[in-house]
């Protein structure tokens, strides 16, 4: 592949604290929407080249990745000392277009609810279609890609690595795709009238449960409160497996939840809570 006059590929420099791809094996997208994004990329002919970015992404060569309206910009460490600047452009929708979209989304609390719960609503593309728009790029021309590296292939491995991480970012937060299309989370929620400014207070408001030891001298060896009898809900011992976010781990074609199911059934049938408590 390398031409005679071009220097042979050099090893990229290692990056401390780079953004490592989470998925080190198999396909990227774990969710339907990032899968969909990747398949769109493949469909418009970028698929094979993305492979080249995978190792880069896994090794953590991507230093930073920012998603803004219409533009993803990333710094990727290559073999040169100066990291390359990667930009991936997409058409951000304009005010009028978003107004149409938001009207469609606001009609059903479903969309905001799913998004807030960390999922892309499975029928969101219909809303875009009604507005005559598309959430995902439909053709290669919709994407502009650009890297400061000397490689003339587009996408180069640096762009590919950025794509790779972008898809992962979509997995983590479906709002990212919408932000790329021109509406960040805050604005969108505000526009959907389902949000007011300001974030949730931290969910984990840990209550102070441990009195200072010096304050408990009188009852130092005793229980500090009663232990209530619990009556947990009665569900099947493997119910949890059905409620977990999907993972693509599998052994010989069997998915992880199915591999684990016998264990959970054994727990339910087992003697785990038989620990006796004889008096004295």
């Amino acid at each position: 592949m390398s031409s005679g006059w071009y220097p042979p590929p050099a090893r990229p420099r290692a990056v401390e604290g780079g953004l490592k791809a989470r998925t080190a094996r198999g396909a990227i997208g774990q969710t339907w929407w990032s899968e969909r994004f990747v398949s769109v990329l493949e469909h418009i002919g970028l698929g094979n080249r993305l492979e080249r970015g995978r190792n880069y992404a896994r090794r953590g060569q991507v230093i930073s990745l920012d998603v803004a309206a219409g533009l993803v910009s990333a710094l990727v460490q290559g073999s040169r000392s100066r990291p390359y600047r990667v930009r991936i452009g997409i058409r951000a929708f304009g005010k009028a277009e978003w107004a149409k979209l938001e009207a469609g989304l606001a009609g059903s609390a479903w969309y905001a609810a799913k998004l807030l719960a960390g999922e892309m609503p499975d029928d969101i593309e219909d809303v875009f279609a009604v507005a005559g728009l598309s959430l995902f790029p439909a053709a290669a021309e919709e994407l502009s890609m650009d890297c400061s590296c000397p490689d003339y292939q587009v996408p180069c491995k640096h762009i590919a690595a950025a794509f790779y991480l972008l898809a992962e970012g979509f997995d983590d937060d479906p709002f990212t795709i919408l932000a790329w299309r021109g509406r960040d989370r805050e604005d969108l929620l505000a526009h959907l009238q389902a949000a007011s400014p300001g974030h949730q207070p931290a969910a984990d408001q840990r209550e102070q449960v441990g009195q200072p030891l010096a304050a408990c001298l009188e009852s130092y060896f005793s229980l500090q409160a009663g232990i209530p009898v619990t009556s947990p809900p009665v569900t099947a011992s493997d119910a949890l497996l059905g409620q977990l976010p999907a993972v693509s781990l599998a052994v010989r074609g069997r998915l992880l939840p199915d591999l684990l199911r016998p264990a959970y059934q054994a727990f339910g049938a087992g003697t785990a809570s038989s620990s006796a408590q004889p008096a004295g």
Binding site: R25, A109, E119, L223, Q224, S237, P245, P262
Partner: protein
């Protein structure tokens, strides 16, 4: 005594340390700013002897005076440590610890060592372990991958959400401070987290250890190095979680598993979504008296947002038309900190900022929660297809599905669920079986009841307890939805179940079944019957119905004892006797579980006497009891049933082989001990016994014990268990006894655990408890001394002589004292002789109490005294009944020996009062004993005359040794038995058989009987006896010694 304490550290596991009352209290070091060795912490070797683990030393911060840590409340010292004069402070002390890995730790927490007292910290950790076990049983765990410098570890971690978060919070708050006394390790949240994680991991592994592993079968050979995911899966069920895999593959695995990282991390937001199901158009009717299914915040539903609470009368039953009913699932937000604060969704949508006091952003939170909930409940999506959803409409099908399946899942996932109150006590479709005595002439002739009696039998469909009419069945069959109103109440009817139920009825036409079959049907668990619907009731008329309902004792004529029986039975004892013989006739095992003191022994002896009178050719009955009771049975049998031929089979000289066989043929009642019977089981099992009786049947409470397995080998026509405490600690004990009495009645022990023990004990469920009571009711007769029906039959004061036997050590010591003292008595006269006689008596009485009283060797109590062994058995019953007891002894040293021993043995405090105590201290002790929280055991070593002690909290009095002066003994007894005492008092006088105690007791009884002579001057009359007579009194008879 030793008091064991513990704490859990992430890196060390369970760390055990102990206080040892034998060690000096004060530290020799004055350097109180730095950590000094804890002066009375048990030494490493002592710890190792009890719970061997990895030895170590830790510094603990303990409440202390300058020179020593304070005692834990569990530590008892004699004499007690003087109360602190100065204020206490936290000081560091170095303590030897024994560190146990999680597997060993779980074993210790569930099975403690005998003779050691365990502090609250250990019980607390045991509670944590129990909670961890429950999480595993319910599958609230997730596998995880932990990376550290050495590589990778596969582990199981707890998944905490919903009610479990509340439970962990409560556990964290309850932690005794001593569990976080290691400097720098005092955050209870972290400590509980670490302990739960380690426990859950160990328990889950234990569950999977024996299984086939989690890897799917492979074709071909196992590769040299497994892929990371395979190695991880394999390590999840291995004893150790550490595994080896390619680092890059591990990275990938970790990346994938990161998706599960956030699941069940026990975080609760400021509010959660709550779903309330109500009937549409009826929101103001009584059906909305919602109750919450979750255990976390009861009553939250009732206080609600204050609306919709008018309790109106039930509306008319609507019939089939109502099956098209509409239901609404309302969405609400519920505050986490104040669960009674419920905000309907509509209020959240239209919030003008008034909710901001507790919710920064109610709309966004509600949406997020609804989005999350839709993952558990996908149909929720339908309700969200509008701008401001407030609820979801459901048809009866949907409502049923929500009630039956979705609500528990939502609850478990951490959402609130409010269900109509009728759901909890809903009535389900089931089958009833009814049996009736045939009225046709053929069978009526064979009116004699018996196991094989045939009865008319038929199945019917029922809802709850109501048998359905044909019209109602037709109505249900037409109903299109599973929720149907029947007789004014909602009923959940699965059409498929109904169809199968009807099919079952046509397949099983009315027929006849034997009484045995019907009894088996009544006892069977629904899962084992193979009926398409659960069997809700098995009813019968006549004697069988009474048996099933537990009404037999009232139904039968009370049976007066036969003329050969030398005691008058009280009315309730006559009922007990008739019940026993009724079950004997049917060959059904019977558990007589009367409270102690109600005369189980007498009832059993009356049963045997009646049997022998009726059927002199009946084979022998084998009665097993603890060693300490053999003498008692012999004496009671001789007294009340002198015609019974009794043979006591125990001791090293017991008969064997043909001699034994001959003896058995000549005996009516064969007494033996559990230990002996276990040893001789091969020989004993060769005889077919007329009856096998287990006295103190809790001896076989552990079904895996050798004794329990041995007694089940004994063949018998009838089996009886006598016990005052059929369920001492755990339901499993009941299983073991019932399985001896009526093998198979309660299923296998594993089935029993999952069906009854865990639901009842762990989750406090009432339905399995009700079922268990119903199933065992025919076979258990339990009367409490507080029953109104009994209390009138009882005398106010029951006096019982408790016969004990000497241990071998006591006997040889006794003999030595007799030899020595008789020689002295022979060689002296006058005052000197008198003194020697009294000294001899004192010494012999001390030997009867405990050898250490004579030897003064401060050695362990162990099982060196027959009286102490029996005392422990009796106290166990008394405490199990929740009663309080006074124990009198003449010997201060004996009381001081018993005090720490009994405290450790029963894990409770005991009071102790002696003659040398100042008045104020006495009053304090008495007040404490009289209070409800006071110690259940009170030891007294004083001549209790004229001290004005009022100890009416006790309803048991035990005289460990005798004054032989009824006036003195009665005065002591009257401490408990006074005006104001509403309960009956049981008085037990301990007498060692074959010793001077028994002989003097007999002499007094004879004298009383002969001349109504009250010997008021106690023992001094004995000094006038001739040397020859004295020798007879002191001499040890051959039945004095136990095994």
């Amino acid at each position: 005594m030793l008091v064991m304490h513990g704490f859990w550290l992430a890196e060390a596991g369970l760390c055990l340390w102990a206080e040892d009352s034998e060690l000096l209290v004060k530290s020799s070091s004055q350097a109180y700013r730095s950590a000094r060795p804890h002066p009375f912490a048990a030494k490493q070797a002592t710890l190792d002897g009890i719970h061997a683990g990895k030895p170590g030393e830790v510094t603990l911060l303990l409440p202390s005076l300058r020179s020593a840590p304070l005692d834990s409340p569990e530590l008892i010292r004699t004499p007690p440590r003087p109360p602190a004069q100065s204020a206490s402070a936290l000081l560091p002390w170095i303590v030897p610890v024994s560190c146990l890995d999680p597997v060993a730790a779980l074993a210790v927490l569930s099975e403690r060592a005998p003779g050691i007292r365990y502090g609250a910290s250990i019980s607390y950790l045991a509670d944590l372990a129990e909670f961890a076990g429950e999480l595993v049983t319910r599958g609230r765990v997730l596998p995880a991958l932990v990376r550290d410098s050495e590589g990778a570890v596969a582990s199981w971690r707890p998944v905490l959400s919903g009610p479990d978060v509340v439970a962990v919070h409560a556990l964290t708050r309850a932690m005794p401070p001593v569990c976080r006394a290691v400097p720098g390790q005092d955050d209870p949240v972290e400590l509980v987290g670490a302990a739960l994680a380690a426990m859950v991991d160990a328990i889950a592994r234990g569950e999977l250890g024996a299984g086939p592993g989690l890897l799917p079968p492979r074709r071909g050979r196992r590769p040299e190095r497994l892929s990371a995911i395979e190695a991880w899966l394999e390590a999840l069920s291995a004893p150790e979680g550490r595994f080896d895999a390619d680092p890059a593959e591990l990275d990938a695995l970790a990346g994938e598993l990161a998706t599960w990282e956030g699941v069940g991390r026990g975080q609760t937001g400021p509010a959660r979504a709550t779903f309330r199901l109500t009937e549409a158009g009826e929101t103001a009717a009584s059906e909305t008296g919602a109750s919450e299914t979750g255990a976390s915040e009861t009553g939250a539903g009732e206080t609600g947002a204050g609306e919709e609470q008018s309790a109106q009368a039930q509306d008319e039953p609507a019939g089939p038309a109502a099956t098209g009913s509409r239901w609404v699932l309302d969405f609400l937000l519920q505050s986490a900190s104040d669960p009674s604060l419920l905000v309907p969704a509509a209020q959240a949508w239209s919030d003008d900022g008034s909710l901001s006091r507790w919710l920064a952003n109610p709309r966004e939170l509600l949406l997020t929660e609804l989005g999350r909930a839709s993952r558990v409940y996908p149909e929720l999506a339908d309700g969200l297809r509008q701008p401001r959803p407030c609820g979801l409409e459901l048809d009866a099908d949907g409502a049923y599905r929500f009630l039956a399946a979705v609500a528990p899942a939502l609850d478990e996932a951490g959402f609130g669920v409010l269900l109509p109150s009728w759901w909890d006590r809903r009535r389900k479709l089931g089958l009833t079986a009814s049996a009736s005595t045939p009225v046709d002439g053929v069978v009526a002739k064979a009116s004699k009841f018996g196991k094989d009696q045939l009865m008319d039998f038929r199945w019917q469909l029922a809802v709850g307890d109501d048998t359905l009419t044909d019209a109602e069945i037709a109505m249900l069959a037409q109903a299109k939805a599973p929720l149907v109103r029947l007789r004014g109440q909602w009923v959940a009817v699965d059409p498929e179940q109904l169809r199968r139920g009807l099919e079952f009825l046509t397949r099983q036409p009315s027929a006849r079944k034997s009484a045995t079959e019907i009894l088996a049907l009544a006892a069977a668990h629904p899962d084992d019957l193979g009926t398409p619907l659960p069997v809700t009731t098995v009813a019968a008329d006549g004697w069988l119905g009474e048996l099933l309902d537990g009404g037999v004792p009232q139904f039968l004529q009370p049976l007066p004892a036969s003329t050969q029986f030398r005691a008058t039975l009280r009315p309730y004892q006559q009922r007990g006797l008739s019940w026993l013989s009724f079950l004997a006739t049917l060959g059904l095992g019977a558990c007589l579980a009367d409270d102690m003191g109600l005369g189980k022994t007498v009832q059993l002896l009356a049963l045997e006497t009646a049997l022998r009178a009726e059927n002199p050719a009946a084979g022998p009955t084998l009665l097993l009891c603890p060693m300490s009771l053999v003498g008692n049975w012999e004496r009671e049998a001789a007294k009340f049933a002198p015609e019974l031929r009794v043979y006591a089979h125990h001791g090293p000289q017991r008969l064997r082989g043909p001699a034994l066989a001959d003896q058995l043929n000549d005996a009516d009642l064969v007494l033996s001990t559990y230990a002996t019977a276990t040893r001789d089981i091969d020989e004993l099992a060769e005889t077919h016994w007329h009856r096998v009786v287990l006295d103190e049947a809790q001896a076989i409470k552990n079904s895996l014990s050798q004794a329990a397995r041995a007694v089940k080998r004994l063949g018998a026509g009838h089996r009886v268990a006598l016990t005052g405490t059929p369920v001492e600690n755990r339901l499993a004990e009941l299983w073991s006894i019932m399985d001896f009495l009526n093998p198979g009645l309660l299923g296998s022990s594993q089935q029993f655990r999952t069906r009854y023990a865990i639901p009842v004990e762990r989750h406090g469920q009432t339905e399995p408890a009700r079922r268990l009571r119903a199933v065992t009711r025919p076979y258990v007769l339990r009367r409490l001394k507080t029953d109104p029906a009994i209390i009138d039959d009882l005398p106010e004061k029951i006096e019982i002589k408790q016969y004990c036997q000497l241990t071998g050590e006591q006997a040889s010591l006794y003999q030595a004292v007799v030899d020595d003292m008789m020689e002295r008595i022979e060689n002296t006269d006058g005052i000197e002789r008198r003194g020697n006689v009294l000294a001899a008596m004192a010494k012999l009485k001390q030997v009867c109490d405990h050898p250490a009283l004579l030897l003064h060797d401060r050695s362990a109590i162990g099982s060196r005294s027959g009286k102490v062994i029996r005392l422990e058995e009796i106290l166990e019953e008394i405490l199990a009944e929740g009663d309080k007891v006074l124990c009198f002894t003449q010997f201060t040293e004996f009381a001081e020996m018993l005090l720490p021993h009994l405290s450790a043995r029963f894990g409770t405090n005991a009071g102790y009062l002696h003659g040398g105590m100042p008045r104020a201290r006495r009053d304090e002790l008495v007040t404490s004993f009289q209070s409800d929280e006071g110690p259940p055991i009170f030891l007294l070593s004083l001549k209790a005359g004229g001290t004005g002690l009022n100890l009416t909290a006790a309803n048991h009095v035990i005289h460990l040794d005798r004054w032989w002066n009824p006036a003195v003994e009665n005065q002591a007894t009257d401490r408990a038995f006074r005006i104001g005492q509403k309960r009956n008092v049981q008085v037990r006088k301990f007498v060692c058989t074959g010793t001077l105690e028994e002989k003097i007791d007999e002499m007094i009884e004879e004298k009383k009987a002969l001349a109504d002579l009250v010997i008021s001057d106690g023992e001094s009359w004995l000094t006038d006896l001739s040397t020859q007579d004295l020798r007879k009194v002191f001499e040890l008879s051959k039945d004095a010694v136990s095994e």
